[in-house]
Amino acid sequence: MDDKNLEELKDMEAEMVTVEESAEEIAAAEASAEGEVVTDVFAQAREDAAASLASAPGPKSKKRHKDLAHGNAIAGLLFVAPFIIGFLLFLLYPLGLSFAMTFCKVDAIPGSGLRLTWNNFDNYNKIFRVEPEFTQYLWDEVKRMALFVPGILVFSFFMAILLNQEFKGRAMVRAIYFLPVILSAGIFVGLESNNALLASVKDAAKNESSLSSITTTLENILLTGETGNKFFQYVIDIVGQVYDIAMASGIQIIIFLSGLQTIPPSMFEAAKIEGCTSWESFWKITFPLIGSMILVNVVYTLVDFFTRTDSQLMTLFDQTLLQRFEYGKVAAMSWVYFMIIAVILGIVMLIFSRRVYYYD
């Protein structure tokens, strides 16, 4: 109750701020309109639209258009301002320090922090030429990414569509699918692997399934055939990892679900009345409208995959940091890693964002 009141208060304050702002804008607009009576900014917008309809952009209306664009730019900057401030205050320095550390020999001085001494790209030299595991782990990680990320995406999309349908016990099933979100987050991951008993149970389950399971038999049958070996290998790999995939796709399912929730049901009704089958309405309505969420999920899955805490690479980072205290080397390794992620992400976003349909 208190929170609600507080938020209402905040809203009121915010509105007061806008009132002040728009008052200023009106004043500015009046000044620019040279005595012309302009009641509010939106009257101006309307006039603007009328002017552009008449396709006679005189010098005056151009000026007004500029004013509106200017106002929008300011409003946009105000909306984004928290991020700019936060980035400058909290992230710029740590990021810069971390980047500087990659070029330096870093010594920890008890009580006063770190001392950095320039060492001529020695860190980079070391991680690529001396450290035996780094490049290999990096390559492994990229290969695993190519296997896992598409699997996770398809699986979570499929599950979200299933969970969005009406059936008995839906709330409970959804709650169960939320468990992976919790269990794959933060401390629980570490606890699982620390816990010897559970680890052994999990290993036993894995052994059992890989020794005498249907998948192995199927694998043997399918892989002796000549055609489509690679594809079958892929499918079988995915099926073998289904537990990991299910555990990694909790967030994606929720993102897809909440995306599906924002599609108005009336669209499907209209399509149905027009004689659309559900297969068609899936491809023509659901798929395009969920496109923006697919992009989010691609990005999230990639990032989550690369930054998960139980990968070999992260273990290597932790070891170097906590056991060998080589801050500079860890910084260099994580920046290289991070650049590789950025490049992959850039390529993927470029491919996907062209195809994403936006409402506007």
Partner: protein, 332 residues
């Protein structure tokens, strides 16, 4: 189905040339396949947890009985009582709850505003700024933790604080910088939330806002009254993620709350094995070691204790994101 209805059905089926029956059968098969699939996957997820639950419910005698595989012979909740005590859960739960609620509210607020700004307005350096948002998503936490730790120890915003107070602020153990980071959308995973909401707002029809503007609605009011109701499902899921990740986070909150002045549930759960060792040493002298099976049991109980609030919150939240569409009939 009554007899009359059944007859009616066959009658109708005959009239439709078998279509009705085929449709029924197809529907049934689909529902059956779906049920099997969902059940199987639920089992896959639940099985390790159920195992854990079974372990926690054993009494001491059952713990060392090899004939017991899952279901205990003598039920006991002693492990929960012990875990609750050793994690000092009653205080830790409250402080974790406070922090997680504050963090998720701040995260939702900031990421909604920022996401909307990025989705709808044109301003200078927009692409660069958005690049920074994406950057905050992809920086591995390992890169940032050490510098951030040092930074929080001696905060002087570009020398401003130094100029005023004569020395830099040490904000270790204070919640101020953490909440500030959440409010400014630069905290743990904030970038993801911003991105999520930006994608959502980009997908909203522009005509909605234009109509509001033409009717004389201000920018903020348009945002709060027209666009916000439609964004509720996404906001709820963002709040949920923020809550869960804060609740289970160790790395980031360790940077801000390194000492024990603020006991968080995640920290005490992380240190639970150590606490048990300490407890045993206190009881039986320095050489004493807690038995492995017992430690595992208590850890599992601790995990259960930490899980339950999250599940409750999820059940409440998910109702919310199912209903929100019917409440806000503004779209389309």
């Amino acid at each position: 189905m009554t007899k009359a209805e059944r007859e009616n059905f066959w009658e109708r089926n005959r009239k439709s040339g078998g279509y009705l029956l085929r449709k029924r059968v197809r529907g049934f098969l689909f529902r059956f396949a779906r049920a099997v699939l969902l059940f199987g996957l639920c089992f896959l997820i639940l099985q390790p947890l159920l195992n854990k639950l079974a372990i926690t419910l054993r009494s001491d005698a059952d713990l060392y009985d090899p004939t017991i595989i899952t279901i205990p012979r003598h039920f006991s909740v002693e492990s929960y009582k012990f875990a609750w005590k050793i994690m000092s859960a009653s205080t830790a739960m409250i402080s974790s709850m406070k922090l997680a609620i504050a963090v998720s509210l701040c995260q939702v607020l900031s990421s909604t505003l920022i996401g909307y700004g990025f989705a709808r307005y044109k301003f200078p350096f927009k692409r660069l700024l958005f690049g920074f948002v994406v950057l905050t998503i992809i920086v591995p936490p390992a890169t940032l933790v050490t510098p951030l730790y040092l930074y929080v120890q001696r905060i002087d915003f570009f020398g401003i604080i130094k100029a005023i107070r004569g020395e830099a602020l040490n904000l270790h153990g204070s919640w101020v910088p953490y909440i500030l980071m959440c409010l400014t959308g630069t905290a743990y995973k904030s970038g993801l939330y911003i991105y999520l909401l930006r994608q959502h707002f980009r997908n909203e029809p522009k005509e909605l806002e234009e109509a509001a503007y033409v009717d004389g609605c201000g920018r903020l009011r348009t945002f709060f009254q027209i666009l916000l109701p439609g964004a509720v499902p996404i906001m709820v899921s963002v709040g949920l993620f923020a809550f869960v990740w804060q609740w289970t986070d160790k790395t980031y909150s360790m940077v801000f709350f390194p000492n024990t002045s603020w006991t968080l549930l995640s920290h005490s759960l992380y240190n639970i094995a150590g606490s048990i060792e300490g407890y045993y040493r206190g009881l039986y002298g320095d050489a004493a070691k807690a038995p492995q099976a017992f430690t595992n049991q208590i850890t599992a109980a601790g995990v259960m204790i930490a899980l339950v609030p999250l599940l409750i919150i999820y059940v409440i939240a998910q109702k919310n994101f199912v209903e929100s569409i019917s409440q806000s009939g503004i779209k389309a």
